[in-house]
């Protein structure tokens, strides 16, 4: 009897020890080792999707504040965040999230590019070049944002395997642009002009034209005018302006002829939709009205830089883009209660009243529109040389006529400078609140002048000109945001902060 019991005891112990090895080696469920996931073509495609994903957060709050509100187009009554008055420091939260979001996209692209080599055979050569082309395009895209916000940044182009791989020193602005151009030129050869649909080939991915247009934007930034002319050449005629300006933004023509590249929003969650609607809508419409259009009638009151170079005043009479872009909704003026109803304008472009709950809009956000390409080419042509009534006039007028405005001709724009001003005005109005204005003002070297004008009206504020550099390529005065403070702690190699911080 007792012996049996002993055996039972030993048996139990045996069973435990065998079962233990299973207990300790659980298969991660729902959580996959990345290495394993990126070992197939299907997995890599999901990796590519992950490369695009940071676009969704970037083009909500961050870009609206850092590249929208900080221009002369927007202002905020709350004045709790300071990018509007150029009073941010190195620990400003958005500086950090912007930096982080972009590097997430970059390192994801690096990882996919590196993991591609472990796959023996792709389903087609085309699929392989699609994957490679998109990653290179997106890497260039993210670096282009970074170099314009922060100047020379650490140039990470390999997969990060251990933490120290991320601790690289800052490269120069020139080095970053060299990499951007290298990537974009490769992307142009690798990417298709259109997508046919199906897994990995969905419409909305970056195309050859997107890569060309992005390269042209780079050219404009660097004042490489003739390269910009060349790089926009092939795109002309591949898209068209939408008759109804609102259709560019209201989800009705996503990835359509008016668009070159868009942030894709959709689905049902906060993660894949955009809250941009609520950023602009007034409180009475369940928004926060955090960014309002500058309006000279406000006389500098209400909060931050509300007036001076007001965008409201930039619209010509009869411009059909005005009421798409701006609206007063006929509601109480919540800032100035003694003013009549409808006396305060709000940004209306992204007011999605269809998707619920409000603030989870599925409308895509334009990154590069066909109109932008037209204006870029017109600007580049004019900078190459003013030709009275030349192609540049045609491009500009295509936009104006579509907006219900009279065409310009040699009599209204008599000089290169006059044409330059017309282009600048048209860009501002056509692409209001599309996060272009800050970059434009900065590359034209007129950011300080425009902002200081607003500050003078508001009073008591001075533009921090000690934060301007002379751009190493264009020689223009150029404003840079600070490298996030935390990077100096976590990356001993980064060393230098931008001037003025």
């Amino acid at each position: 009897m007792k012996n049996y019991i002993k055996y039972i005891g030993l048996l139990l112990i045996g069973v435990y020890s065998i079962s233990c090895s299973n207990i300790l080696d659980p298969e991660p469920e729902g959580q996959v080792a990345l290495e394993q996931l990126l070992s197939t073509e299907e997995g890599l495609i999901t990796g590519v999707n992950g490369v695009y994903e940071p676009l969704q957060p970037i083009f909500q709050n961050t870009m609206v504040q850092l590249a929208g509100r900080s221009s002369d187009d927007g202002w905020t009554w709350r004045k709790e965040t300071e990018s509007d008055i150029f009073n941010i420091d190195e620990s400003f939260g958005l500086i950090q999230t912007t930096w982080q979001n972009h590097y997430q996209g970059i390192t994801r692209a690096n990882t996919v590019l590196e993991r591609m080599s472990t796959i023996d055979e792709f389903s087609s050569a085309e699929m392989k070049s699609l994957i490679e082309g998109q990653c290179k395009f997106m890497r260039a895209f993210y670096y282009f944002h970074l170099v314009r916000f922060y100047g020379g940044v650490p140039l990470i182009i390999e997969e990060i395997k251990i933490p120290s791989d991320a601790e690289l020193p800052r490269s120069s602005i020139e080095e970053v642009y060299a990499q951007i151009k290298l990537d974009l030129n490769e992307a142009i050869t690798l990417l298709p002009t259109a997508y046919t649909g199906g897994s990995g080939k969905e419409e909305g991915r970056a195309t050859k034209y997107a890569a060309m247009a992005l390269l042209a934007t780079v050219n404009l930034e660097l004042e490489e005018w003739s390269a910009a002319v060349t790089n926009t050449e092939d795109i002309i005629g591949k898209g068209r302006l939408l008759e109804n300006y609102a259709d560019n933004f209201n989800g009705s023509n996503e990835n359509g002829p008016g668009s070159i590249f868009e942030v894709q929003y959709g689905g049902e969650t906060g993660a894949t939709t955009t809250n941009l609607r609520n950023t602009f809508a007034p409180e009475a419409m369940q928004g926060g009205a955090a960014t309002l259009p500058t309006d000279d009638r406000l006389n500098g009151e209400g909060g931050s830089l509300s007036s001076g170079n007001g965008i409201v005043q930039e619209y010509e009479d009869g411009d059909n883009r005005f009421e798409v872009t701006l609206a007063d909704y006929g509601i109480d003026n919540f800032l100035f209660p003694d003013q009549p109803k409808g006396s305060l304008l709000f940004v209306n472009k992204y007011l999605n009243e269809v998707d619920q709950p409000p603030g989870q809009s599925t409308w895509n956000y334009p990154i590069i529109r066909y109109a932008d390409v037209l204006l870029m080419r017109a600007e580049a042509l004019n900078e190459v040389g003013y030709i009275s009534g030349g192609e540049a006039f045609g491009l500009l007028n295509e936009i104006r006529l579509n907006a219900g405005l009279p065409a310009h001709d040699a009599t209204t724009l008599t000089s290169q400078e006059a044409f330059r001003m017309a282009i600048r005005k048209e860009r501002r109005v056509e692409m209001a609140f599309e996060t272009k204005r800050y970059f434009d003002l900065n590359r034209w070297g007129i950011l300080e002048e425009r902002i200081q004008f607003q500050m003078d009206i508001k009073g008591e504020l001075t533009f921090p000109s000690n934060r301007l550099i002379s751009h190493p390529i264009t020689g223009k005065p150029y404003f840079l945001y600070p490298i996030p403070l935390v990077e100096f702690s976590n990356n001993a190699n980064i060393q230098e902060q931008n001037p003025g911080y």
């Binding site: 009897m1 007792k2 019991i5 002993k6 005891g9 139990l12 435990y16 020890s17 079962s19 233990c20 299973n22 207990i23 300790l24 298969e27 991660p28 469920e29 729902g30 959580q31 080792a33 990345l34 999901t46 990796g47 999707n49 992950g50 490369v51 994903e53 969704q56 004045k79 709790e80 930096w99 590097y103 996209g105 970059i106 390192t107 650490p154 933490p163 791989d165 991320a166 969905e202 419409e203 959709g266 689905g267 049902e268 969650t269 894949t272 007034p282 409180e283 009475a284 109480d332 919540f334 100035f336 209660p337 619920q356 709950p357 996030p484 702690s489 976590n490 990356n491 001993a492 190699n493």
Partner: protein
């Protein structure tokens, strides 16, 4: 029915006759053999049997069924399986037995109608004629009564014949009667809480035994993990909280009942739910980023789920808290934060007992926020708008009807809470089988409207001695807890916090009594003008917790002193949530479509362990050895689905919605362990415990999967030495020293690999799967190691009227699991977890218990106090080589952390600006250079003396961990009345009052606290910042600073209970045995400087953000009437 002498599993108690006894037995049996025929009536019983080839066991059954005889024997002494055949026709039973047991190892003895079967000591003398029969006065039956020193009977006292396992329990009046096996017997009489007494009978047949209360409880057994130990044998730091203390007030939760009861155990409340969530910290906090929760073990099942409120506090018989490494090391990798062992009520041998108890309480919110009146708020608007260059036109006229309303949201949103608890317990048992079962119902209506909590629970504990080698027991609890909850404990949450947030000049109800809200955003309705009752009353938020917790244990005796114990247990927790946010349009509060969220958490946790337990006493030495293996697996399944789109509030189910979103996860993990423990004692003086456990955990990579955790301790019972043995002053003195290593594995799962995180993207409007790295895997990740030295003294003085314990400990947590920050250029959201750094907790614990007065009027005092010093020794460096600084969670609006963890300071030490009043007139120039400030703006100390306000001005200003914590319990009793007064306290810590950070900044967007009405103006140069709405003043007033950091020291009159036992004589001839009434008050008084609702609040679980008060569910003052009736 067979009675088994061997009733309980015991390490010592196997019947081992001494030489003297053997001789007496020899005589006894000799006599028996010769006098068998001339005895009592029963013994003349004759039976007829005709059985062929049956077992002895069967035969015994047959005889028992046909006669009044009962057999009493130990299985090992009788060969029950032996086959016999019996043919008897009206034969004497004794004659039959004579025949059956001739030439076997068994003899029999008949006493009354009991037949004792015993092992034959020596072969019967071959020729008994030659030995003269000697008649010995066999002492077979002794009766008596057990009482305490006042003569009060001690029902349930144990009376055991020394050296045997023959024992009985005293009945309700303390009376007992016991059949003796030997002669010259000594009885061992014991009762929990009393010193055990040995009573030599010396021929007496009736003895009255008086037991002395043992304050030290040296004979009590303490549960130590995989076994029990006598308190006197313990060499580690273990504290035990008795049922009596735990049950002294109605509590929703065992951790609530622990508050202030044990030295070094700190309980703090968080959460916005009715049951509250409690954080337990034992001996300070060691882990910076991991969990500091102790391991909770209920009847041998280590829990992984934290819904402690589903464990019925009424079922708890005792809680043992293992503190030092010697005590905890047996739980290895999970023991670093201490172990809390909960033992539920078990049945006792004796007649069935039925107890019904009921508690009825009323609860009031004990503190409330002091908010501005509408008029004060109006003046705040005027001043703030003036200071921010906004039009004040609408705010200037005090006669405007808008300002005539002063809604008290705190009053409207709360009510008197009622709590009922009903509990039925019945228990009892025979020598073989003991049972205890209970059913309980608790119903609480919360003090916050629309919150309530019900708990139904059932428990059955059973144990059976199947035969002399097998004992099995099961403990099973099932509970179901439906709850209606409200969100809370956040910066701008909808719970109690929301009542302070919203402006008082908006109405709550319209003239029809319906919820209402203004329908304009125009001035003066600026800012927070929502009706906070809407999000409290309209949405449905349900959470139903179902828990099945139980285990099955089998204890198998292999040979003398060697047992195999197996335990298989499980804990299944299912929490299903349902919430519905309805459609409504109440003024400006509009919800166009309903949304439903259904969540399901399924936690399955099973454990199986087997231990071999050996114990042997030889000469003066005693040895206990335990070796065991254990496997535990947990499966955590979470699913959540939400849908929106319904346009009709009756379509409030998921299937009625039009768009959906769902998430789910499934985590499996496990632990495989082996362990051993040696207890060695010499002469009851020198004691040694050595423990080692080896754990394998799925939390770590294949290379680092196993960890070994050893500990050792020695103790010297000085009082057993000859020079102290007879001391009348010092009754017990034990010195203890222990040192050991334990682990903490509480980090997420699969941190050792680089995980893919879902990062979905969209094309067109179709969401596609996206993946990216969520971390950088660290394959060399391993446990946090905790090295602890403990030096302790246990003592009892003055006839044990004063007893106590002092412990000094030094606990070093090393290889801390810390997220080592990486540059953001790494592109992953989560920094890798690495083993780095160390934290030290050292302290002194003191607990004393004293019976100040004895006699008719008694007064006892229990007091405990613990001092702890927490210091981060090292948490590594960043890439730049600077010591790492880990900030706590940012406080909203200012987006600054209030805590910063760095080496040389406590974990999560408070680090912020030092508030220095406001800039006054005449200081304009300095104020302007400082931060563009103007007179009336807040001023902060220029710590780095650089003339501007910057991050360098933040400095260490406080400690979120109390230096001293403790409790004081005084119990007075006179006859049937007893009064207990219990206080707890903590001191030396600060608490960050986020409510003031939001409501006292003079920003009229929200309703402000009354303190802000003394704001600065040129005419009132106070130290309260001037009001503002936006701009520099607002920025400055919102900063995280010492203005909102408050001393959280407190002394609280936690509980006062008056208990009255009805005199037992009124129940004579009644089915009721006793009845007790208790009237108690909880949280009656709190002495504190803290201005928030509760100085014990602590809203964030992470230590990095310790000591922040976001307003948990409001603390209540409770008055309770309790009745307890035993049948």
């Amino acid at each position: 029915m067979k009675k088994l002498l061997h009733q309980e599993r015991s390490f010592h108690g196997i019947f081992k006759p001494s030489l003297k006894m053997k001789l007496s037995m020899l005589f006894m049996f000799t006599v028996l053999l010769t006098m068998q025929a001339n005895t009592s009536n029963a013994q003349r019983t004759k039976v007829t049997l005709n059985l062929n080839d049956i077992s002895v066991e069967r035969l015994i059954d047959e005889i028992e069924s046909k006669t009044d005889f009962h057999f009493v024997y130990q299985i090992k002494q009788v060969d029950l399986k032996r086959k016999v055949s019996v043919k008897a026709n009206q034969e004497l039973v004794t004659a039959i037995l004579d025949r059956i047991f001739t030439d076997t190892k068994t003899v029999h003895k008949v006493v009354d109608n009991q037949i004792f079967l015993k092992e034959r000591i020596a072969p019967p003398p071959p020729n008994n004629d030659k030995i003269a029969p000697v008649l010995i006065d066999l002492q077979t039956m002794v009766t008596g009564q057990v009482t305490d020193d006042k003569g009060t009977p001690l029902p349930g006292a144990n009376i055991v014949e020394k050296g045997t396992t023959n024992g009985v329990t005293a009945d309700f009046d303390g009376n007992f009667s016991i059949e003796l096996l030997g002669d010259n017997v000594t009885l061992v009489v014991s009762y929990i809480g009393f010193s055990t007494k040995e009573v030599p009978l010396n021929g007496q047949t009736n003895v009255n035994v008086q037991l002395l209360e043992s304050a030290a409880g040296l004979d009590e057994v303490v549960v130590v993990g995989y076994g029990v130990q006598k308190k006197s044998d313990i060499t580690g730091a273990v504290s035990n909280i008795s049922e009596e203390k735990l049950q002294s007030r109605p509590t929703a939760n065992f951790s609530d009942a622990l508050q202030g009861r044990s030295s070094g155990v700190q309980i703090r409340q968080s959460g916005g739910d009715l049951d509250g969530k409690f954080q337990i910290a034992i001996r300070g906090v060691g882990s910076v980023t991991g969990s500091n929760d102790p391991l909770i073990v209920v009847d041998g099942v280590p829990l992984i789920s934290a819904s402690f409120s589903t464990i019925n506090p009424k079922d708890i018989a005792s809680i043992d808290i293992l503190k030092d490494a010697s005590a905890t090391a047996i739980y290895g990798a999970r023991a670093a934060n201490g172990v809390v062992i909960i033992t539920t009520k078990k049945g006792k041998v004796g007649k069935p007992q039925l107890t019904y108890s009921s508690d009825l309480s009323v609860e009031h919110i004990s503190e409330r926020y002091d908010v501005m009146s509408t008029e004060q708020q109006r003046l705040l608007f005027v001043e703030a708008f003036k200071n921010s260059n906004r039009s004040t036109a609408v705010y200037d006229d005090p006669t405007n009807p808008v300002w005539q309303l002063d809604t008290d949201w705190q009053d409207l949103g709360t009510r008197t809470g009622i709590r009922q608890i009903h509990n039925i317990n019945y228990s009892g048992g025979t020598e073989n089988t003991q049972y205890s079962a209970s059913a309980s119902y608790q119903n609480r209506t919360g003090t916050l409207l629309n919150t309530d909590l019900k708990t139904y629970s059932l428990r059955t504990n059973l144990s059976t001695q199947v035969n002399d080698w097998l004992k099995i027991s099961t403990n099973i609890t099932g509970s179901y807890q439906p709850e209606n909850y409200s969100d809370g404990d956040n910066w701008g949450s909808t719970g109690f916090r929301g009542f302070a947030y919203q402006h008082s000049y908006t109405p709550a109800y319209d003239e029809n009594g319906e919820l209402t809200n203004i329908n304009t955003a125009s001035a003066p309705y600026f800012g927070a003008n929502q009706n906070p009752l809407v999000p409290l009353l309209l949405p449905t938020q349900e959470r139903n917790t179902t828990r099945l917790l139980g285990n099955f244990q089998a204890n198998i005796k292999l040979i003398d002193g060697l047992f195999l114990n197996t335990n298989v247990g499980g804990d299944l927790v299912r929490i299903e949530g349902y919430s519905y946010n309805p459609i409504y349009q109440i003024g400006r509060m509009i919800n166009n479509q309903g949304s439903v969220t259904v969540t399901n958490n399924n936690d399955t946790n099973w454990v199986a362990d087997a231990t071999l337990d050996y114990s042997k006493d030889f000469n003066k030495q005693s040895l206990k050895l335990l070796v065991g293996v254990s496997a535990q697996q947990f499966l955590l399944r979470r699913t959540a689905a939400s849908g929106t789109g319904t346009i009709d509030n009756s379509l409030n189910q998921l299937s009625n919605q039009t768009s959906f979103n769902s998430t789910g996860s499934n985590v499996k993990g496990g632990l495989a362990s082996s362990f051993a423990r040696l207890n060695y004692g010499y002469d009851n003086k020198y004691l040694l415990t050595a423990t080692v456990r080896r754990d394998g955990s799925s939390r770590f990579g294949p290379d680092k999967r196993y960890g070994t955790f050893p500990s050792a301790s020695v103790a010297w019972r000085v009082s057993q030495e000859n020079f102290l043995k007879n001391s009348t002053i010092l009754n017990d003195l034990k010195l203890r020293v222990s040192y050991g290593l334990t682990g903490n594995q509480n980090i997420g799962n699969f941190e050792f690999i680089t995980k893919a995180a879902p990062t979905p993207y969209v094309y067109g409007n179709t969401v596609v799967v996206g993946n990216s790295a969520s971390n950088i895997g660290n394959p060399s990740l391993q446990w946090e190691a905790n090295k602890q030295l403990d030096i302790g003294i246990d003592f009892a003085l003055f006839k044990s009227r004063v007893s106590g314990t002092i412990d000094y400990y030094d606990k070093k947590s090393e290889d801390l699991l810390i997220q080592n920050p990486i540059p953001l250029t790494a592109g992953v959201p989560n920094a890798p977890i690495v083993n780095i750094g160390s934290v030290q907790n050292s302290g002194i614990e003191f607990a004393i218990s004293s019976r100040n007065l004895v006699g008719n009027f008694t007064w006892t005092t229990d007091f405990n106090i613990a001092y702890n010093k927490n210091e981060v020794l090292d948490i590594g460096t960043n890439s730049a080589g600077e010591p790492l600084e880990i900030p706590g969670q940012n406080i909203p609006l200012s987006n600054l952390p209030s805590n910063l963890t760095v080496a040389g300071n406590p974990v999560g030490a408070f680090n912020m600006y030092i508030y220095d009043g406001v800039w006054q007139l005449g200081e304009e120039a300095e104020a302007a250079t400082w931060f563009n400030a103007v007179p009336g703006d807040p001023r902060y100390k220029d710590i780095n003396e650089n003339g501007v306000l910057d991050a360098g001005d933040r400095t260490f200003v406080g400690n979120p961990h109390p230096k001293l914590i403790g409790g004081l319990d005084n119990t007075f009793s006179y006859k049937n009345l007893s009064l207990s007064v219990f206080m707890n306290f903590a001191t030396g810590n600060e608490l960050y009052n986020t409510a003031r950070n939001l409501f006292s900044r003079g920003v009229p967007f929200v309703q402000n606290f009354a303190e802000a009405s003394d704001f600065w103006t040129p005419d009132n140069p106070s130290e309260v910042p001037r009001p503002s709405q936006g701009g520099t003043t607002t920025t400055l007033a919102t900063l995280v600073s010492t203005r909102f950091l408050e001393d959280a020291s407190f002394l609280r009159l936690k509980n006062v209970a008056l208990t009255y036992d009805l005199p037992s004589k009124i129940f004579d001839n009644s089915f009721i045995e006793s009845a007790q009434f208790t009237f108690s008050g909880t949280n009656l008084l709190t002495f504190t400087k803290y201005t928030g609702l509760d100085p014990e609040a602590s809203s964030r679980e992470s230590l990095l953000s310790a000591g922040i008060d976001y307003t948990p569910y409001p603390n209540t003052r409770q008055y309770n009437l309790g009745v307890k009736v035993s049948f």
